[in-house]
């Protein structure tokens, strides 16, 4: 295989080049050992099956340790050859993120979790349009047309296809008031059926 010349051999001026591979190795081995230790909780014999319930998962954990060690050694070998690993992200000039940008990125990851937490209490039918609206606001949509139109269109299509046609029942919430509103939406979608 011909060797590419797309990369540069550079020298590092930052922390030890071995730090990141070592950390990655530690994370993988730690994870595998944790999983291995948990297998002890179901280490029971199975009649007529020598490897028991733990044989396969333990083998996978050991292979994971072997893979992580192989990766670590290979990367050490690469570094020892005088080549320092660089991430594309590290090579790009680092820009200082503003408070707003940090908040936006955090919101992208937090919003689905907040939604998931709220749905069993407040109901899918009520929360989902609000979730879509919030997501679009995070994605910097500011025009009122799409902000109202997209959640409305998706909700109507959902109600027609999944609620009316296929009878897919989503959570209706368990808090008084919200439960009733969600059921009212379902009732409206199935009107005349």
């Amino acid at each position: 295989m011909a060797r590419s010349t797309e990369f540069d051999v550079t020298t590092s001026s930052g922390p030890s080049p071995y730090l990141r591979p070592a950390l990655e190795w530690a994370v993988w081995v730690g994870f595998a050992l944790l999983a291995y230790s948990q297998t002890g909780l179901f280490d029971r014999e199975i009649p007529e099956y020598r490897f028991g319930a733990t044989g396969w998962p333990r083998a996978v954990c050991l292979l994971m340790i072997a893979g992580a060690t192989g990766q670590f050694l290979m990367r050490c070998l690469t570094i020892a050859r005088g080549v320092v690993e660089t991430d594309a992200a590290e090579e790009a000039p680092r820009q200082k993120l503003s408070g707003r940008e940090i908040a936006q990125r955090t919101a992208i990851f937090l919003l689905p979790l907040v939604y998931l937490y709220a749905v069993p209490y407040l109901g899918f039918y009520l929360m989902t349009p609000l979730f879509m609206l919030a997501l679009m606001l995070i994605l910097e949509v500011r025009s009122p047309g799409p902000l109202i139109g997209v959640p409305l269109t998706v909700s109507v299509i959902f109600l027609l296809v999944f609620t009316r046609l296929f009878y897919v029942g989503m959570p209706v919430g368990n808090l008084p008031g919200f439960y009733d509103v969600n059921n009212a939406i379902i009732g409206f979608a199935r009107l005349g059926m």
Binding site: Q38, P47, W56, L63, G67, G70, T78, I108, E140, V154
Partner: protein, 507 residues
Amino acid sequence: MEAFIGGTISLFGDPTSLMLFFFGLIGGMLFGAIPGVNMLTLGAVLLPFTITMNPENAVMLFSVIYCAGVFGGAITAILFNIPGAPENAPTCFDGYPMTQKGQSGKAIGAAVICSAAGGLASVILMMTSTGIIAGWAIRAFGPPEIFALIFFGLAVSASVGAKTLWKGWLSVMIGLLLATVGTDPVGGIRRFNEGSFLGLDYSSYYLSAGIHFIPLILGFFAVSEVLTQAINIATGTRERPKAGLEFPTIAEFWQVRYTMIRSTLIGFFAGVLPGIGATLGAFLSYTQALRWSKNRKNFGKGELEGVVASETANNAATGAAMIPLLALGLPGGALTAMIMGIFQIHGMEPGPLIFINSSELVWITFAAMFWANLMIIVLGWVQTKTVVHILRVPFRWLAPGILVLAIVGAYALRNLFVDVWVMFLAGIAGYFLRSTGYSAAGVVLGLILGAIGESAFATSAQLLDYSILNFLSRPIAATLFILGVLTIVTSVINELRGADQPKALID
């Protein structure tokens, strides 16, 4: 040939049959394309109505739904990274990156042609040699051969989508470990359902059913893609994919002819074997395309061959799945089990005698599957020219719809909201795995192949008295096993020699 022509005349000569044929074709495509519902949903809804149909029409309708449904899921897999059905999951690996490169038309075009080609080849094989193939496959492919086949598949899956071989392996290992959550396949002992970590106890009744791969696939592909694009929007680095309308050229299909042939054979045999089916067929075919391709470095980055492998194999499995059903009365999957139900509703018994006692039913079914696969080209071509325009809609508007579809898809599977949690957590994990060079595709491959692999391994070990020599005395199992070992050894040697050094360094 006369029987086939007779079947075709019966199919197109009767208005009721013709109407049901088109209903199955369009319904199957639509249900296949919508995450959250699939051809099984349509089948389940229609099953009670088959009582009032004659058995020929009922079996024909379900076989057409099967062909069209398996193809339908490719569209959303290619355009939005959401596989409409599990058998389309490997189509995401290269189909979506092709969309990002502005080659959506090419990817959908390849899916259309290859689905039709795989399906047609499979139907022709089914028509010519059902009895012989069914008998051979059932006898020759026991648990040891299935385990060896999966081992071979896993051996090459480390190269899918990861930046380095090691990262690929670790991704596959994560999938294999996730597959062990639930209950063990021999004794039914609950694994990773409850325990204690740092003094904190955990227990989940939900986990005793295992982690289903559908929420994971939706999370790793659809949700993590939405997160990635949202972050790109936040950083101002997102580029909108172009809505490519270009169809693959004949020269491009000629270049992947061996992949098409290989994938047809893999899909066909996967379909014949009960319990393997179109999903595993598509995954194994993808890994084998990767193994033998000259462009293996492009796999996972938008390689046409990846779409070809997956879509040819999953449709090739449809015709093949009818072989054990009709010839031996063995349904290999959920939809063929429904067809078995139709036989029972009408007091019929599939098996070798069905070719003599109900030859009209058999040949209407064969003819319908043949014409359904051919019609996929026409309907698929129309889809290629129309649905890719969805890409012109701004992603900020599409993202909420994609997430709602994914939520419904994950929830409707078992009516468990925990599946939606699993999907979103997999999405977040997928985002970080992808951004650090690991492979979401590798995790999914490990998860799907791991569950079947462990079961086949346990049965083989008991069957062969825990002896590796007994295992190697079976020619098919030994060949596949040795090929798998050779694949691992050569890839490790290549890595140690530094052949993949540039790739590792870019990571």
